[in-house]
């Protein structure tokens, strides 16, 4: 039975999307289906993570039950399950938050959210490079639609850039994949990992070129400097719940780099060992620096959150180069916390409102394209329950987000930062000898600068211009953000089990033989 649990995170959102698309316009029913499916997805994801964690081996799923040598495989190891859980949490928060006015900005919001989740989960679970490309395209296509949700000049302008950049990145992806296929004759990541040590010298150069081109494609998705200028404007233009979902999309790029870096360029890879590590480290540090400068320069919450996503991506790129379990454990915790923190930040930014706060009163022209749906902007959701005293709640949420993103005690953001910094000071094996302490210093500085930037934004919003705060929060909006932040607060006290899981993940990542053995059978693992 566990075998089929592996494909459930892909099939469930797909089935939900089809159901929502075909299921007519009954809005309460749609909301119920979307929330129930997101809840089901979260349960399935957690069950998958628990199953993977207790079973000693990674769970492999061969599509169509073909023999492994020709099958397209899905592989659920601990890292993949962790990412699926993260995506499902965001999916559930998004499904609840976007009820009512947000999803009413345009048609099919819930459908595209589910398709985005399907693409994300597929990208995390696949064990095949070309399938990774296909799932990337699915999640990108859904993200184009989500970004344009609500339409308007800003979104279409930002969407145009976003789509062009991602199309070019996809071409890079294809070139890299085909170069790798041309030299190694396989697209299966486990087989690839086995064939690298034995590559001939002239093929190895082409393989490295292919891996580097593929890496460029992933770095574009991860919004690394200098390939990430698209991110702040794009995410700022998106509606708040869509931007919150996008918070995990840069992590897909980080995930792919981590997965392939660990599988293909570990110490067993012969002459290829450690390929690109110094470059990724340097890119990560530069991204981190540029993100911090951007945070200090940002003048509104949307841009601030965008640059904090870039800071998070840079931190992860730099930290995940180190082949040290403790550093990787801290970095994985940081990935989880910073993703959820950034998502909450975007949601709060949407509730606080800013330049685009009046879009609910003055919606852009969409009705003409959707003549059957009389109700895109009906008043029915204005009967929604409204929470009193929004300023207190929103500012409390803002404070929690600040502590999370800057990594200030007592929240798990701090634990993650310490989890990275402490082992880094012990000079773990890295791209160059002093890299660990250097990165630790930069991380400490990054906390300070993030705190300055966020505190200044807080002063601006809550004290300097209290009049611009939107007067109402709907119950479901407050509840979804509140639940997310509360879960993170609880995580501070219940960090034990998740931390064990992350430690196991780090050890598993550092032994690619276990992944290979899980996919190809025990005798194939070294």
């Amino acid at each position: 039975m566990i075998q089929h649990l592996v494909i459930l995170p892909i099939l469930l959102p797909l089935a939900t999307a089809i159901l929502l698309l075909a299921g007519g316009r009954n809005r309460p029913a749609q909301a119920a289906v979307s929330i129930a499916a997101s809840l089901g997805l979260l349960v399935a994801a957690v069950a998958l993570a628990v199953a993977v964690n207790t079973g000693e081996m990674s769970a492999i799923y061969r599509l169509g039950n073909w023999p492994t040598s020709v099958a397209i495989v899905l592989v659920a190891d601990r890292l993949a399950a962790l990412m699926v859980v993260l995506a499902s949490v965001l999916g559930l928060v998004n499904a609840v938050f976007s009820l009512g006015r947000w999803s009413r900005l345009g048609p099919y919001y819930a459908v595209f959210s589910q398709l985005l989740l399907m693409g994300l989960n597929g990208a995390f679970l696949t064990g095949d490079l070309f399938n990774l490309f296909v799932f990337f395209e699915i999640l990108l296509a859904a993200s184009y639609a989500l970004l344009l949700h609500g339409s308007g000049r800003r979104r279409v302008g930002a969407g145009l850039h976003y789509i062009v950049i991602n199309l070019i990145a996809s071409l890079f992806f294809l070139i890299g994949v085909s170069l790798i296929f041309g030299v190694t004759g396989t697209l299966n990541m486990a087989v690839l990992s086995q064939r690298i040590p034995g590559l001939a010298e002239e093929s190895r150069a082409i393989f490295h070129a292919g891996a580097a081109i593929l890496g460029v494609a992933f770095l574009v998705k991860a919004a690394a400097w200098p390939l990430g200028f698209w991110l702040p404007r794009t995410y700022d233009a998106a509606s708040a719940p869509a931007a919150a979902l996008f918070a995990i999309m840069t992590k897909v790029g980080v995930y792919a780099l981590l997965r392939l870096g660990m599988l293909c360029f570990g110490p067993d890879a012969g002459p290829s060992a450690g390929f690109g590590g110094a470059w990724v480290f340097a890119t990560g540090v530069l991204t981190l620096g540029v993100g911090l400068v951007g945070m200090l320069a940002a003048r509104d919450v949307g841009r601030l959150a965008g640059y904090s996503v870039i800071v998070s991506a840079g931190t992860l790129l730099a930290a995940l180069v180190f082949r040290e379990p403790a550093v990787i454990t801290g970095a994985l915790l940081y990935m989880a916390v910073s993703t959820l923190g950034a998502a909450a930040f975007y949601l709060l930014g949407g509730l606080v409102g800013g330049d685009g706060a009046d879009e609910f009163e003055d919606p852009p022209l969409l009705e003409a394209y959707d003549p059957d749906d009389e109700g895109l902007y009906t008043e029915e959701d204005e009967r929604a329950v409204v929470i009193p005293a929004p300023v207190g709640l929103l500012s409390a949420g803002f404070l929690i987000c600040t502590l999370l993103i800057a990594g200030i005690p007592p929240l798990p953001g701090f634990l993650a930062k310490v989890g990275m910094i402490a082992p880094l000071l012990n000079q773990p094996p890295g791209p160059f000898p002093a890299a660990g302490p250097v990165l630790a210093t930069i991380l400490i500085a990054s906390s300070l600068f993030s705190l300055v930037a966020l505190a200044r934004a807080g002063i601006q919003i809550w004290w300097a211009e209290p009049d611009r705060i939107a007067p109402t929060i709907r119950l479901h909006e407050g509840a979804s953000v509140g639940a997310l932040l509360f879960a993170l607060l609880v995580l501070t006290f219940a960090i034990g089990a998740p931390l064990d899981y992350l430690q196991n993940t780090a050890h598993e990542l550092l032994e690619p033989g276990r992944y290979v053995a899980a996919v190809l059978g025990p005798e194939a693992g070294r």
Partner: protein
């Protein structure tokens, strides 16, 4: 044969890159289309170029040299479908941008900041 293919890929991607760097949305769109043609040909070439060799096994198999590698062809098919679909989507967004801003410059923001 190889030199023809290489030249075709080179010309297509050269023209594509130049067009992508142009300021008008339609030029960017055509540039992306040319680039995806170039990439598709490139994927196709990774299987090795054979003349008159089939990718599909029929009857008893002869020598491996009689067949073309079928996997790159399958990959190309997928890549064509995906790039066609996303380019069509981009075309819609280009039209929407044209309608909203009244100009076809890639950085056009219209008369006022929206």
């Amino acid at each position: 044969m190889e030199i023809v293919l290489a030249l075709a890929i080179g010309v297509l991607s050269g023209a594509g890159i130049w067009l992508v760097l142009r300021p008008r949305t339609f030029q960017v769109l055509i540039g992306l289309t040319l680039l995806s043609y170039a990439v598709n040909l490139f994927i196709f070439s990774t299987g090795g170029v054979r003349i008159g060799a089939e990718p599909v096994l029929r009857g008893p198999a002869g020598s491996l040299a009689d067949y073309a590698d079928p996997l790159p062809q399958a990959l190309v098919l997928t890549a064509i479908v995906i790039s066609f679909a996303t380019t069509a989507l981009l075309l819609v967004v280009v039209l929407a941008a044209r309608g909203l801003t009244g100009a076809d410059h890639v950085d056009s923001r219209g008369d006022e900041e929206g």
